[in-house]
Structures are given as structure tokens and as C-alpha cells.
């Protein structure tokens, strides 16, 4: 990094395990007069430390980083705390994931699959500090996340009300175990297991074990 870079140009950090996209962005951003840098994607703590030491103006962050970094959503807050703007560079079509990143403080999200010129344009305007995501879009995404969370909480509420033992019973049923086998495996009486099964059915408001297992599978509880 030359002194001219640090004084004159906007620093951009690219955090993406997709090396080629990073390389191409680097080349194009440098040509547009910015000072891009590729982040090492090997260690989360080292990356955060690096961001804190030299906060870039803009962090281009991929959400699905794989390997050591995993979910990029967790990196949004530390970057924002260091004083950088975060633009999510998403390969995902999952709006809830993007909304979660926005909630953490990301300024906008841009789809990797856009034509490269378009992608570059969004990155440049974000680097200049322009508003990339309209407030109404942002509002819509965050609302979507909120209503999804509420719906999810309601879906899971009956399962949360199960005692630990009842949860174990439901898990055992959902892997195809029968009441006698569960009783055998846990060295308890069949009557005990049956009463737990009945409690599960009552709390989930279903009429059969099959229905209970289907409900658990439907909401992704098991």
C-alpha cells in the first residue's frame, strides 16, 4: 500500500471466499481510483483484528463464507463497530438472511449474479457513501424478518412447552421407535412412556403419534 493510496483513495475490503470475484473486483475498483484489498479468509479473529487496526471505508462481505468464517452475518457488527460501512455481496437468494445482515448494521445488499458493470456501480456508490438501498426496501426486508421470527416463535411454542423428557420421547418417535422400544432403551415402564406420549399429543394438540411426528418435521423441530 503506497502513501498516496492511504491519503487519496477510499479503502475497500473484500471479504469473499470466491477468490476470482475478489480478484476481478480488485482490478476494477483499483482502476476506478479506489484502494481495494482482499481479506484473508482463514481466521475470523485475525480478520476482525485487521479491520479494527485499519478500518476501511467499505467492507464488501459475502454471507456464506464457508470454512473457518462460516456465516458472514456475524462479521457485520464488528465491522460496523470499527467504523466501516458494510455492503453485503450475496450469492444467496434468501431474503431473510440478507435482512438479518441489514439488522446487524449492513447498509445494503447486492446480488453477485447481477451483470458485473451493475455490481461495480453499486459498489462504487456504496463506497462514496450514497444510499444504495431505499428506506422502503430496507423497511420491507426488516419487516419480513420480524414477521418471520414471530411466525417461527408461534410455530415452535408448543414444542418449547414440552418437558425435556417429553422432547426426548418425541425425538425417539420421530426416528421410528415404538413405545415398547423406547421403554426398553430407557429402562422404564411402557406405562411411563405412554403417559409421556399422551402429554406430547395433548400439548401439540394432535391426535396421533404420526401427526405429532409430522408436525415436528413440518416446523423443522426434529
Amino acid at each position: 500500500m503506497t502513501p498516496a493510496d492511504t491519503h487519496g483513495s477510499i479503502r475497500v475490503l473484500i471479504v469473499d471466499d470466491q477468490r476470482l470475484l475478489g480478484d476481478a473486483l480488485c482490478v476494477s475498483l483499483r482502476r476506478a481510483g479506489l484502494d481495494p484489498d482482499l481479506a484473508p479468509v482463514a481466521c475470523r479473529d485475525a480478520l476482525i483484528e485487521w479491520v479494527h487496526a485499519h478500518p476501511p471505508a467499505l467492507v464488501l462481505l459475502d454471507l456464506d463464507l464457508g470454512g473457518a468464517l462460516g456465516d458472514g452475518t456475524d462479521l457485520v457488527a464488528p465491522c460496523v463497530a470499527a467504523g466501516s460501512r458494510v455492503l453485503v455481496l450475496s450469492g444467496t437468494t434468501d431474503e431473510l438472511w440478507i435482512a438479518a445482515a441489514l439488522e446487524q448494521g449492513a447498509c445494503a445488499a447486492v446480488d453477485k449474479a447481477l451483470p458485473f458493470d451493475h455490481l461495480l456501480g453499486v459498489v462504487l456508490s456504496a463506497a462514496r457513501g450514497d444510499t444504495v438501498l431505499s428506506p422502503s426496501d430496507r423497511h420491507r426486508l426488516l419487516n419480513q424478518l420480524r414477521s418471520h421470527r414471530t411466525a417461527r416463535r408461534q410455530e415452535l411454542a408448543p414444542f418449547q412447552s414440552l418437558t425435556p423428557r417429553e422432547q426426548q420421547v418425541l425425538r425417539a418417535l420421530s426416528v421410528g421407535m415404538t413405545v415398547p422400544r423406547i421403554a426398553d432403551a430407557w429402562a422404564v415402564s411402557q406405562a411411563t412412556v405412554r403417559s409421556q406420549v399422551h402429554a406430547v399429543l395433548r400439548k401439540l394438540a394432535v391426535r396421533s403419534q404420526l401427526e405429532a411426528v409430522a408436525a415436528a418435521a413440518r416446523v423443522g423441530w426434529v
Partner: protein
């Protein structure tokens, strides 16, 4: 199935129930006799005991029909209800009204009619299950028709019936003989069906019992007169016991079916989840790779003039790396195969190249390799294509021999060899020879594939031509390892 054991129990339970009922009824009868009650009264008491058993059996059969929707259950249930509700009360009444010609004929007529209806219902139940319907209808139709005809004759001719005692006895006996033979015929029909219809076997003792009760009544001795309703009561309890056992078994089967279904659903769901995860990963990787390639291509296209050669080169080679990565990912989708014969792969590949005009000299020792045979054929094919491109008109020698824990496949050509500058990075992605028409990916992919399977691809330093050596792990090594493991475990 875990519930299989209970299949043998209903008959045993039924027999016990029958014995108990017979004992109780006989005991009651003897007690009634000794306490100098009149014979018809004692008979009526015992007969009254049989009625609820038949009614209960009928109700249980109908309940089973409700669960399974097997139509024969309806017919059998109705027959049992008819037995308990009409047939037995009318028989009991016949004893009470003896001596009154007109009323007697009416009661016996109703009794015979109900027996006819029962025969018809059982026949319908059998016919409903059986494939050979006509023969069955003919066999069971005759006794039914006879009984119904007698019943109708009694009902219609009751006003002209002689009131004298001898003729009344004649009528009673005649009716009893006809009914007994009707039950016996039905027993025979049901027994004949037992091989084809599962429930017929358990029904046969019931009809045999009813026939013997009728015979007892016909003998008209004090003891047999008492025995007839006792047998009927026993038959009733047997019917109720077997109906109950059937119902329980049906419920257990339903339960077992639900459990099996739960298990199947769970297994299927987890398979779908695995597949979904795999597909999502693949889609994500592919999207990312494509985005990278698009970005690099557009950067190269728009800014080629401004970029320094090193950057252009690195972008270009990175693009090719990504393409290879994409290809690799799609290849990953296939599971690794089991052991395969090296000869099959080498022969298939060299054959194709020979057809394409390459002269190949093949020497081979047998060896079994592990991993995906398709990957080895890709590696070998890339080498042969490489030789064909770089050494025009050259002949290629392929030699396969197991060596230690790997098979060494030597591919040597007598062409000009790889020019020195490209010898070192021959395996780097995107490196092409001066006359190459290819993407420059062939050798690097070949090496990556070989390494992925625990093997390698090397270029040997030679004075003439190029000599590549593929090493690929032998399957035997794994077998020996697992054999050792087995030995250690046992």
C-alpha cells in the same frame, strides 16, 4: 412383525370361552333339573344366556367393519345380530307356545326364515371374498332356498295346520331335520372355502356347533333338549371371543402400520434433507463460481488495454481454475465407486484414442484399483489427447504394472517432448504448449483428479519425448487393511 404372536391366540381363547360357557350352562341346566323346574323353563333360561353373546359378537364384527371397511364383516355382523335378535328368541318361544297350532307354526316359520337369512348372509360374505362366485352360489344356494321355502310354507299354511299332537311332532321334527341339514351343509361349504378365505376356518366350528344343537333338539331326550341351548350358548361365546380377538388384532395392525409409516416418513425426510443441503451447497458454489467467472471475463474484456500482462495472466488462469473447480464440483456429485479393474478402463480409453488415429502400444499387468473409474479414464484420456496434440504422428507406449501399494501407469510418447520452459509448470492450470488447441486445463485437472484419489501424476525428465506416470492406489491395500481390522476385532 411384532404382533405376529397374537394370531394364534384367538382360537385358544375362543375354545376356553366355549368350554367355560358350556360348563356354566350345563351346570345351570343340571341345577335347574334337580330343583324340579320344568324342562322348557330351564331350556329358556339357558337359551337366554346365549342371546347376548351373539348380539355382542355382531356388534364387535360391525365395529371391525367400521375400522377396516371389509364388507364381509358387515354380512357376518348382521348374521350374528339376526342370530341373537330373532333366531334364538323365536326358538325359545317355540318351546313356550307348543300346543297352539297356529301360533306355533308362526314362531317356527319366523325361526326358519331367520335361519334362511343367516345362511344367505354368510353365503354373500363368502361370495364377496371369493373369486369363483358362481360355484359357491350354487353350493350354498340350495340349503338356503330349502329353508326359506319351508319357512314360507309354514307361515302361509299355518291356518290349515292339523292341531293333533302326532302331526305337530312331525312338523317340529321335519323343521329340525331341515335346519340341521342346512347348518351342516353350510359347515361343509365354509370348510371347503377355508383354504381360500381366511375367516372361513374360524367360522366352521360355529356352524358345526349350531348343527349339533339342532340334532340334539331333534333327539328330544331331557338331556339333549338341555344340551342344545348349552351348545348354542357356547357357540355364541366362541363367536364373541373370536370377534373381539379380530377387533384387537385389527387395532394392533393399524397401530403397527402407523409406526411403520412414521419410520418410513422419517427416513424419507432425512434423505430429502441431505439431498436439499447438498443441492443448496452445490447451487451456492456454482453461483459464486459463475459470478467470479463473469466478473473476470468482463474485467478482461473492458480493461484489457489498461491491465499489465501479469494481472491479465493471473485473472485468466484464475478463471480457468474456477472452470476446473466447477467441473470438479459436478464430478463430486457422483459417489466414488468400489474397486475396479484397471484393464477395463485402460482398454476402453486407448481404444477410443486408437480410433482417433493415435498409435498406442499397450502392455498391462492385471490390477484392481479403488476410487472412481471414470476419474482414471479422464486422467488417462487427457494424457493421450495431450500426446496426440503435442507429438503429431508419434506413437504412445502405455504400460500398467502394480508397484507396492499403487498401480503405475506410464504414458510415454516419442514426440518432441515438452519444450523446456513449459516443463516445470506443465501442471499449472491454464498453461498451454505452443501448438495446443486445448484450454490448458487437461494436465492440471488430470493431476488434481489423481491426487483426489490418493494418487499422483508426474512428468518424468527424459531426453526424448514426454513420459507421464500416473500412480493410482490399489484396491488390495484397502482390503488388506480391512482384513487386518477384522482380524484385530475377532
Amino acid at each position: 412383525m411384532a404382533y405376529g404372536v397374537s394370531h394364534s391366540r384367538p382360537i385358544a381363547r375362543g375354545l376356553i370361552a366355549m368350554a367355560l360357557a358350556a360348563a356354566v350352562v350345563c351346570g345351570l341346566g343340571v341345577w335347574e333339573l334337580t330343583s324340579s323346574t320344568s324342562l322348557p323353563e330351564a331350556t329358556a333360561v339357558i337359551q337366554a344366556l346365549a342371546t347376548p353373546a351373539f348380539l355382542a359378537a355382531g356388534a364387535l364384527r360391525l365395529a371391525r367393519w367400521h375400522l377396516t371397511e371389509e364388507s364381509h364383516c358387515v354380512f357376518r355382523g348382521c348374521a350374528l345380530l339376526l342370530m341373537g335378535g330373532v333366531c334364538l328368541p323365536s326358538a325359545a318361544l317355540a318351546h313356550q307356545v307348543s300346543g297352539l297350532g297356529e301360533g306355533f307354526a308362526l314362531v317356527v316359520g319366523v325361526h326358519a326364515l331367520s335361519v334362511g337369512a343367516i345362511l344367505a348372509l354368510v353365503t354373500v360374505a363368502l361370495v364377496d371374498d371369493a373369486a369363483h362366485r358362481t360355484a359357491l352360489r350354487r353350493k350354498a344356494g340350495l340349503p338356503t332356498a330349502t329353508v326359506v321355502a319351508v319357512a314360507v310354507a309354514l307361515l302361509l299354511g299355518r291356518h290349515r295346520l292339523p292341531l293333533e299332537a302326532p302331526s305337530q311332532v312331525l312338523v317340529t321334527h321335519g323343521a329340525a331335520i331341515i335346519l340341521a341339514s342346512a347348518w351342516l351343509t353350510l359347515t361343509a361349504v365354509v370348510l371347503a372355502e377355508a383354504r381360500r378365505t381366511a375367516w372361513a376356518r374360524s367360522a366352521a366350528p360355529l356352524f358345526a356347533g349350531l348343527a349339533s344343537a339342532e340334532v340334539c333338539r331333534l333327539l328330544d331326550q331331557p338331556l339333549t333338549t338341555l344340551l342344545a341351548p348349552a351348545i348354542t350358548a357356547a357357540v355364541g361365546s366362541l363367536a364373541a371371543a373370536s370377534a373381539l380377538a379380530d377387533l384387537v388384532r385389527t387395532a394392533q395392525d393399524e397401530h403397527a402400520f402407523a409406526q411403520d409409516l412414521t419410520h418410513e416418513l422419517t427416513v424419507a425426510r432425512s434423505a430429502i434433507c441431505d439431498r436439499d443441503t447438498w443441492r443448496a451447497d452445490l447451487a451456492h458454489d456454482a453461483r459464486g463460481t459463475l459470478a467470479g467467472i463473469r466478473a473476470a471475463m468482463q474485467t478482461l474484456a473492458r480493461q484489457a488495454d489498461d491491465l499489465n500482462p501479469a494481472t491479465t495472466d493471473s485473472l485468466r488462469s484464475a478463471t480457468l481454475t474456477e472452470l476446473a473447480h466447477l467441473e470438479h464440483m459436478l464430478r463430486f456429485g457422483r459417489a466414488d465407486g468400489d474397486a475396479f479393474d484397471v484393464a477395463d478402463v485402460v482398454r476402453a480409453v486407448t481404444e477410443v484414442r486408437r480410433v482417433a488415429g493415435l498409435s498406442v502400444d499397450l502392455t498391462m499387468r492385471p490390477a484392481r484399483l479403488r476410487g472412481a473409474s471414470g476419474d482414471l479414464s479422464t486422467v488417462l484420456q487427457n494424457l493421450l489427447i495431450n500426446a496426440q496434440e503435442h507429438a503429431h504422428g508419434a506413437s504412445v507406449r502405455v504400460d500398467v504394472r502394480p508397484e507396492g501399494r499403487v498401480a503405475r501407469i506410464v504414458v510415454a510418447d516419442d514426440g518432441p517432448g515438452m519444450p523446456l520452459p513449459t516443463t516445470e509448470p506443465a501442471f499449472r492450470r491454464g498453461i498451454r504448449g505452443p501448438h495446443s488447441q486445448g484450454s490448458g486445463l487437461g494436465l492440471s485437472i488430470a493431476q488434481a483428479l489423481a491426487r483426489r484419489h490418493g494418487g499422483d501424476l508426474e512428468l518424468l525428465p527424459t531426453t526424448r519425448g514426454s513420459t507421464f506416470v500416473i500412480s493410482w492406489p490399489l484396491a488390495e491395500r484397502v482390503d488388506i487393511a480391512s482384513r487386518r481390522l477384522e482380524a484385530a476385532v475377532s
